[in-house]
Symmetry: C2
Subunit: 389 residues, 2 copies
Amino acid sequence: MRRLWCCRNVRLILGYCALCEHEAHLKIDGRPYRSITLAPDGWSVEVIDQTRLPFRLVIARLATCEAVAAAISQMVVRGAPLIGATAAYGVALAMRKDPGDPALASALETLGATRPTAVNLAWALSRMGEALRAASPDQRAAIAYGEAAAICEEDVAACQAIGVHGAGLIAQAAQVKGDGRVNILTHCNAGWLACVDHGTALAPIYHAHDAGVHLHVWVDETRPRNQGAALTAFELGAHGVPHTVIADNAGGHLMQRGEVDLCIVGADRITARGDVANKIGTYLKALAAREAGVPFHVAAPLSTIDWSAQDGLRDIPIEERSGREVTHVTGLGPDGALTTVQVAAPGSGAANPGFDVTPAGLVSGLITECGLTPATAEGLSRLRQRAPA
Amino acid sequence: MRRLWCCRNVRLILGYCALCEHEAHLKIDGRPYRSITLAPDGWSVEVIDQTRLPFRLVIARLATCEAVAAAISQMVVRGAPLIGATAAYGVALAMRKDPGDPALASALETLGATRPTAVNLAWALSRMGEALRAASPDQRAAIAYGEAAAICEEDVAACQAIGVHGAGLIAQAAQVKGDGRVNILTHCNAGWLACVDHGTALAPIYHAHDAGVHLHVWVDETRPRNQGAALTAFELGAHGVPHTVIADNAGGHLMQRGEVDLCIVGADRITARGDVANKIGTYLKALAAREAGVPFHVAAPLSTIDWSAQDGLRDIPIEERSGREVTHVTGLGPDGALTTVQVAAPGSGAANPGFDVTPAGLVSGLITECGLTPATAEGLSRLRQRAPA
């Protein structure tokens, strides 16, 4: 096998590394990519600028903690696992510049304030803080880079395991369908672009597709930022997975008509009793799934579970984003340039909650790296006991 | 009172008529408009081109039956009651050109094939056909114009009555709220632009607002064609009604949080047992409303009831529109021109069902010109007995 990716993210040229045996699972035009990696200089960070996809594949180089914070805030990178991984590298960049205690505290604070809902951010920063506070300043940069790389590698492994476990559900659905294709509905983007590689909700789909299961994905466009139409459709298309983009409004109708066999979505935060915060609109699909008897699964690594939260509606902060994301839409203009158009009536304001909470009772099950788990306090408690420390 | 609108739609200059006492309820920049009227020539038809709103107020002149059919197909006019009214004028234009039996049959067929879901189209064409088949060809043009004008005037009166009846529900909600504002969620556009004047779902809102009720409207943007963000927000803004545009995904979250007191939507077809076909996504909001205990009302004139249909999922044809409406979005570009941008990944296809069916059990009640009616076979049966023949 041609060696393409370095498991330690060192001395790596985007898409190619001669040092180790890891290969990025996802490819664009046949070339393997991860959503985040170290730059060829060995210390700055390269990410795919997700505000430019699906029309431009632009690699953004982040060289400071502040640049990382801005990239997270402005959704150059997004997706709960990737936000955590990127923030970890933000701490590493800060430590490289100034490994002192005030700089560490400032980096953790700056990065922690970027986005409120995805708990992977707080999880990654807490892990970085614990690893670094105990170390002497002269060791901190090296430790931080190592910890950030470990977070990335663990995420890759977790997503790979999620893919294996979740693919079993799809295979079961395929057995029930016989010759027919399995129709899976997903919301937003929980693919490799939301993680480091593989994805959460999309990992089982890739895995099952690669194993020859006859499947098709309904891709919610996921307004207001269209992560489904732009990113999930892009990922699935690049991997050759049959899919169809739909307006977010269409999923209930399709479920009513028996056109959906299975829903799989990602998560930004899961409480200890199984409530799930995910991209706004997820809850509506969960309601429709229950009504139609369609299984509704949530795929996420353990780093997405907030063990301190119980009642999702009460305990999970929901990010309110700019109304301009609703009133304006960016896409590829007739001249081939990325163009923003206003769609709402001039003078009309907009509200833009970024996430909603799907109560545990609507979730058929959680797919984590440890396998399938009921979305209940008992199920999660057992999962916590089994999970690595 | 200054006389502005002719009740017979004759010798009328858009926005002004010296012949009768009717005044258009809805105004743009203080000038009264109806969504359809006869042109100053006395025979062709003028409509507001709704593909250009909210950024351009363009009056389109329709001079042939074929032009009317194209205007309906291309959604220059849309909204169940307005589709019916416009089609009626399409028959009148056909009769003016050729009042023979083959021309009548052809006009009814051409117009009937434009859009499948809104039953007002079939209702208006059936009414026109009945009135014209019995008449001699030399009388048909005059009869057709008279019948089309009558359909328009009856729609105005029906919508006005819907406004009065529905406003009572809003006033009740206001009493419960005390000092707080009543938050109403609506989907798509069921305002005066969807009718001839007043609107269906928006008529109660206008009526209550004009009566001093403290209210606020959550406007679902209503992808893929954004009739909420573009048309409903435009209407409400022009009338001074406080409102906020939201992504279609946000309504469930708002209902979970107690931010919605009442949902009112329009309808494209209501079955004899109370199932409701309306713009795609309506069903998801009805599910969320039931879950949150929020009343979910459907406002429509009797012409929207299909007495021959029972099971909405089985009996109502759902229009499948072009996937391009999902993959591309039109809005106001940075240069001030209407611009279409691609939002979905290149190479990804899209499905675009235009409507969905909300089962009667999710509908709190129907608001028609005859008052409030339970969305049940019994309620509708009583309504049919009370309705004018």
